[in-house]
């Protein structure tokens, strides 16, 4: 009867790039072969036009794999060309931005299935309002204006009643005394004021301070970008927050269900003589059988929870263990929608259908947890050692308690991170910082999950499904097999053990097998050290337009400008003057540390003042001596090897550093590579302590590099850069193969986020010496005498 009713009909599906929309289109093509035409409402996105989106985002989806296999690729393409076409519809614009042709096409539709929605619970308020509420209203108005009278199937959500208790009937939602137009107006105009607020001096100051603390040394543009990112994030967070609070105050758990509820009001109010059916699915999860068991796209509600459970990340969870968690497989929703589409209401009164399982096949929260435990005990996820991960035992505390606990832990971790990042320990602290970062992410995820989904595990209501059941009863037995939509048809254990959990695990790409199903062989033979950088070098061997640029201090040599200065100055003064000099340096130390944290350039400027009045010739000689005494002793052998590999491969090698010429040039000369470093101004035969040009740190470094590349015909996208600190970020960002060498905590974070290669180079052990000459050496005594 369903196929019969839809035979020869033309239908319009909105939201066809979404999970549900796609599933509906697929089911129609496969099970209603005699359908006349399916229009897919698709909006051209910034990146691709609507027609391309059909190909890339709909037809290439795994949902159509079954059809392609059954028909063959060619026949499928023919079918798609014959039955499907795209109508450009923009639900964000009044009148939907239709062309005349599109308007005609819409007029010819017999059924309109509106399944477009912004389904994330944590969308910004204005986006939810625009898409869910105004989108639906615009669609109805446009249909009415076009003069068409198709059967409108509005896909809503079972939670439009807010957090009700008891039985929720299949009827129009209770009117909470709200005007949907007013609500839409309020929510969509939120962005302006929030944007404005985000630009208030105190907010911008705070964001900029945060950005400086995170990215300071990377230079002004990087800080500016970080500030803007933070501001965007701030605006979004604020809008999400506003939406949530607004929804909560109206008695809804989140902005999604609130806007969907308002949309129902709008649709009911506006539909006029258009036949209207509303389908309210509860929580849609992976398909039970069609188009294949476990068809799911994108992570929806329960998946993150399930994975967090399987990974033992969520050690506890709030909720009422005996509450009904209303889950419904996607294909049952699709079938309900089609059954509803085939059965327009006989009168102008809208009909409501609950696509929910609660009344026919109730599922309790505890059942899911038990099923998950059974499943993950049998098919455990693996940690990075390939060991099975155990599952947690949840005690179901209250949501408040849970959230407080998680937030406290988060605060402790954040404080620890703040402290660690400020320690002047460079690379040695990076690992601790990485661990803290991972822990923070884990906690944040937990807090988020609790905030978003906690409420759904405390639902105490049953969705009445009388209308759906009635529909089911009128469905002829022959069609019940093709279009099953009665939740009593399946068993939850089967659904979770054989369909849903395997799907979730598969989609998460979590490691489930211990090393491809095999035990480790136990071989202790040394494994060849694979360096992806080295293979990149080999791939680009023999190319003169490839550059390898190296930072020096901390990347090639375990030193910094202060140590060189100490060594050279001590070397040039008699032993009895050392204490006074050291006291002076120690006194200035904290200030330099502070400046270094803010900006490398500021630090260098300030520090190089110490050179004021020194003799350049003497410093040059001392710099040469420091090569043997300091540089070569503290050098990283792996770094030297890497430079030689680049040179063997025919690449250009450049040392780009903020260190002074007197100490870097001898090294560059020895290595026979180019160098770009800091030079001090000389006046009347004395150093002035001023730099000849701005210190090559932060963005200045990237500018230098670009300029160098332009001058020498270097292809930066194929080049390599090696650096150790955040102040080198602009330089690393420029090249195709950035390598973080012994990264400090902040660079380590960035490198982790961007998937950059990280290498740890070490000094040959046993070579660390204080940066001071040996006062017993006759050489020193003679040098001082001179």
């Amino acid at each position: 009867m369903i196929a019969e009713a839809l035979k020869g009909k033309t239908i319009l599906v909105t939201g066809s790039t979404g999970f549900l929309g796609k599933s509906i289109v697929e089911k129609c093509l496969r099970s209603v072969p005699e359908i006349a035409r399916i229009h897919l409402a698709i909006r051209s996105s910034a990146r691709r036009p609507a027609s391309e989106r059909l190909e890339r985002e709909v037809l290439s989806s795994p949902a159509f794999r079954r059809l392609k296999e059954e028909l063959g690729e060619d026949a499928f393409a023919k079918l798609a060309a014959q039955k499907l076409d795209v109508i450009e519809i923009d639900l964000g614009r009044d009148g939907l931005g239709l062309t005349d042709e599109a308007r005609d096409q819409i007029r010819a539709c017999d059924v309109v299935i509106h399944s477009a929605a912004a389904v994330e619970f944590d969308n910004p308020a204005d986006l939810s309002a625009q898409t869910n509420l105004l989108g639906a209203a615009r669609l109805v108005e446009t249909l009415k204006a076009s003069g068409a009278r198709p059967h409108l199937v509005h896909v809503s959500t079972a939670f439009v009643g807010g957090m009700l208790r008891g039985v929720v009937r299949e009827e129009s939602p209770l009117d909470p005394g709200l005007n949907w137009r007013h609500e839409a107006q309020v929510l969509s105009s939120l962005r302006g004021p929030v944007e404005e607020e985000s630009r208030k001096p105190e907010v911008l100051h705070r964001l900029r301070r945060e950005a400086t603390s995170r990215m300071g040394p990377a230079g002004t543009p990087a800080v500016a970008r970080a500030t803007e990112r933070l501001r965007d994030r701030w605006v979004k967070d604020r809008l999400v927050e506003r939406g949530r609070v607004h929804a909560n105050s109206m008695g809804f758990s989140d902005i999604y269900s609130f806007t969907k509820a308002m949309a129902e009001h709008a649709v009911v109010e506006l539909h006029g003589d258009i036949p209207l059916s509303i389908v309210r699915p509860s929580i849609i999860e992976s398909a039970l059988a069609e188009p294949f068991a476990g068809w799911l796209e994108g992570f929806r509600m329960a998946e993150p929870l399930i994975l967090a459970f399987g990974r033992n990340i969520l050690r506890d969870f709030s909720g009422l263990p005996d509450s009904l968690l209303d889950v419904i497989p996607a294909d049952f929703v699709v079938n309900t929608v089609l059954a509803v589409a085939a059965n327009p209401p006989p009168d102008a009164k809208p009909r409501v259908y609950h696509a929910a399982s609660g009344s026919r096949n109730p599922l309790r929260f505890r059942r899911i947890v038990d099923e998950a435990r059974t499943y993950f005990t049998e098919h455990p996820l693996r940690d990075r050692y390939g060991q099975a991960i155990g599952t947690p035992s949840w005690t179901y505390p209250t949501r408040q308690e849970m959230a407080t606990r998680a937030r406290t832990a988060l605060r402790v971790v954040e404080a620890a991170q703040w402290f660690v990042e400020r320690l002047p320990l460079g690379a040695s602290i990076a690992e601790v910082s990485d661990d803290l970062n991972a822990e923070r992410e884990r906690l944040e995820r937990g807090v988020n999950l609790i905030q978003l989904y906690g409420v759904y595990t405390e639902v105490d209501c049953i969705f009445d499904t009388r209308n759906v059941t009635a529909l089911w009863e009128t469905t002829p037995a022959a069609e019940r097999k093709t279009f099953p939509f009665d939740p009593a048809l399946y068993d939850w254990t089967h659904y979770f053990q054989d369909v849903h959990f395997p799907t979730v695990v598969r989609m998460s790409r979590a490691e489930t097998a211990a090393r491809r199903g095999q035990q480790p062989s136990g071989s202790t033979a040394p494994k060849a050290e694979a360096s992806s950088v080295r293979s990149a070098i080999e791939r680009r061997a023999g190319r003169g337009d490839v550059l390898a640029v190296f930072d020096v201090d901390g990347t090639l040599v375990e030193t910094n400008v202060v140590e060189y200065f100490l060594w050279m100055r001590l070397r040039a003064q008699p032993l009895e003057e050392w204490p006074a000099f050291m006291v002076d340096i120690l006194r200035k130390g904290p200030r330099w540390l502070y400046l270094e944290r803010r900006s490398r350039a500021e630090f260098q400027r300030s520090f190089y003042r110490e050179y004021d009045g020194l003799d350049p010739e003497v410093m040059k000689r001392l710099g040469r001596e420091a090569l043997d005494a300091v540089t070569l002793r503290r050098i990283y052998p792996a770094g030297m090897r890497r430079i030689r590999e680049h040179k063997r491969a025919g690449h250009r090698v450049l040392l780009l550093t903020g260190a002074l010429d007197v100490v870097v040039e001898p090294l560059a000369e020895l290595l026979d590579v180019e160098v770009d470093c800091a030079h001090l101004l000389i006046k009347d035969g004395r150093l002035t302590g001023d730099l000849q040009s701005p210190p090559p740190a932060g963005e200045a470094r990237s500018a230098l590099l670009e300029e160098y590349a332009g001058r020498n015909g270097v292809v930066l996208a194929e080049s390599f850069a090696y650096a150790d600190s955040l102040s080198d970020l602009p330089m690393l960002e420029l090249v195709g193969t950035p390598v973080a060498v012994n990264p400090d905590a902040r660079l380590s974070q960035v490198a982790g986020q961007r998937g950059w290669r990280v290498e740890r180079w070490r000094m040959a052990p046993g070579n660390w010496r204080l940066p001071m000459p040996d006062p017993r050496s006759p050489e020193y005594r003679e040098a001082v005498r001179r």
Binding site: D628, I635, P637, M640, P765, G766, E779
Partner: protein, 525 residues
């Protein structure tokens, strides 16, 4: 009269014996029945070294007195051995300084202006100014450094000349200044029979091109041992090269020998046999042991490397190279030789903190092998104390520790080459030229104080004969990962090492402990 060396059997009354253990020491109980070989006591030094030197220069062997060779306006070059000799460095004044001052005085008297002094360091590292000053003395250093007192540079293409090829096809190069001099005076200090003679010039003033003719795995495997020149392919090759050099330039050789008084009074217990230890020696041993067990590595290194040996000059001879060197070898053997009857299944050795290539730096794992399996193992004549297929047991902590300035190429050799293979022949095939021609190592050798890029390979092949001869090599108390990388075995205690060795040589093995240093030369029947 100083006592000759001795071989004693360990019984109930034998005190535990000293094992050198890098920058540390251990006392070990040897199993009953095993034997301990002690070096001879130091010979009496010459009472008046200056007089002996004067006499040697005035009455050279098979050559004219030095004075008669010096003419006004001639080009004179003095070459001398670097700081790899003697070990430990000699307490000032170094005997080389005494000879050098004498030669310079004579040259001044003869009115010679064109005088250069070159440290003949071959492919060794350049010395620091302080080290150079220690060998030549303040007076010469301040007068001649840096223009006329400098160090040989084997990679300076300008200043090394090719002078010919031997009958065996070995190429010979020589320092340009030396080659173009009217007379070269070579001042050598021979501590062990390997040094001196033709080898002085043919390695000290040569370049990689000529040194590789005999510094290779094949030659070293055919040198049994290189501590006994008649049985040493290395020395035969050096002699052939040396003859070409003698044909090119007139060389006046001065060679000296010293006794084996290697340790100063403060470390007297290291010099003496355990049976002779006085209460003071016992106390000093205990104090040293406590210090080395507890002190940080850098501190221990400073203490040990500050030790200067109170060597006494035992002979000085000058003149034609072969005549001089024969006499030198006699003097050396007189000091070093101990007669040992028969080989044993196991030989134990303590590897000390110092070898020829780590003066003032850490002894890295490759140098430990060079010292233990190279030098110490090869101190024999006729045949090794260890039977073929026997087990060599060495004590050394063998840490992963490299001096970044002096041994940069050793780091790469360890990290890359030894990770690939430890077979000297195979390494030579695959890696010799890569290390020898590496531009970075070449720069460090020339401009800094680094050993030549190829040098770690030479250190490694120095042990080739021992690796070939021994059935197994066990390190006691060493870093396990390092010993594995080197291709040997590691034991926690000497007892464990003996148990492990029994797997190779069978139950109730015969054992010999060579109580070195002070060094000795085992003449094995």
């Amino acid at each position: 009269m100083p006592r000759p060396g001795a071989v004693i059997e360990v019984d109930r009354n034998t005190p535990p014996v000293l094992f050198h253990f890098g920058e540390g020491i251990r006392l070990e109980k040897m199993p009953f029945g095993s034997r301990i070989v002690y070096p001879p006591d130091p010979l009496e030094p010459i009472a008046h070294p200056e007089r002996a030197i004067k006499r040697a220069l005035a009455k050279p062997l098979e050559d004219d007195p030095l004075k008669s060779l010096l003419r006004r306006g001639m080009k004179l070059t003095i070459a001398f051995d670097d700081l790899s000799l003697p070990l430990p460095p000699m307490a000032a004044p170094d005997v080389r300084q005494l000879v050098m001052e004498e030669v310079i005085d004579m040259a001044a008297e003869a009115g010679i202006d064109d005088l250069h002094i070159i440290a003949a360091l071959g492919l060794h590292r350049r010395m620091t100014e302080d080290e150079l000053r220690h060998i030549v003395g303040e007076r010469i250093f301040s007068t001649f450094h840096p223009d006329r007192l400098y160090q040989h540079d084997g990679e300076d293409t300008e200043n090394n000349v090719y002078i010919g090829k031997t009958a065996e096809g070995e190429e010979v190069t020589l320092n340009r200044r030396a080659a173009e001099s009217d007379l070269v005076v070579y001042i050598n200090l021979t501590l062990v029979p390997m040094d001196g003679g033709h080898k002085s010039m043919s390695t000290g003033l040569a370049s990689f091109r000529s040194i590789r003719a005999h510094h290779n795995a094949k030659t070293l495997l055919a040198s049994r041992s290189y501590m006994n020149p008649p049985d040493s392919a290395l020395h035969h090759s050096c002699i052939r090269q040396g003859q070409i050099i003698e044909d090119t330039v007139r060389v006046f050789h001065i060679e000296m020998t010293v006794n084996n008084h290697a340790f100063p009074a403060i470390a007297n217990f290291m010099q003496k046999r355990e049976t002779d230890w006085t209460p003071q020696d016992q106390a000093m041993f205990l104090a040293t042991k406590q210090m080395t067990d507890l002190a940080p590595a850098a501190f221990k290194r400073n203490v040990f490397h500050a030790m200067r040996a109170p060597y006494g000059l035992t002979s000085v001879q000058a003149g034609q190279v072969d005549a001089v060197h024969d006499k030198t070898l006699d003097a050396v053997r007189k000091q070093l030789t101990v007669t040992v009857e028969g080989q044993t299944d196991i030989v134990t050795l303590g590897v000390p903190y110092l070898g020829p290539y780590n003066v003032n730096s850490a002894m890295n794992p490759i140098l430990v092998v060079c010292m233990g399996l190279g030098y110490l193992f090869n101190f024999y004549r006729n045949k090794p104390v260890l039977r073929k297929g026997g087990v060599l047991i060495l004590t050394h902590p063998c840490r992963y520790e490299f001096d970044a300035v002096q041994h940069p190429s050793y780091i790469d050799y360890y990290d890359e080459v030894l990770a690939d293979t430890t077979d000297p022949v195979e390494i030579e095939k695959k890696y010799e030229m890569r290390f020898a021609e590496d531009p970075w190592f070449r720069q460090l050798y020339r401009k800094s104080h680094a050993y030549h890029g190829i040098h770690p390979h030479y250190a490694w092949i120095w042990a080739a004969h021992a690796m070939d001869h021994a059935g197994d090599v066990i390190f006691v108390g060493a870093d396990r990962d390092v010993v594995h990388r080197l291709g040997f075995k590691c034991a926690t205690t000497l007892e464990d090492a003996f148990e492990m060795a029994e797997q190779t040589v069978g139950r109730y093995p015969t054992v010999t402990h060579l109580r070195m240093p002070p060094i000795m030369l085992c003449e094995v029947d």
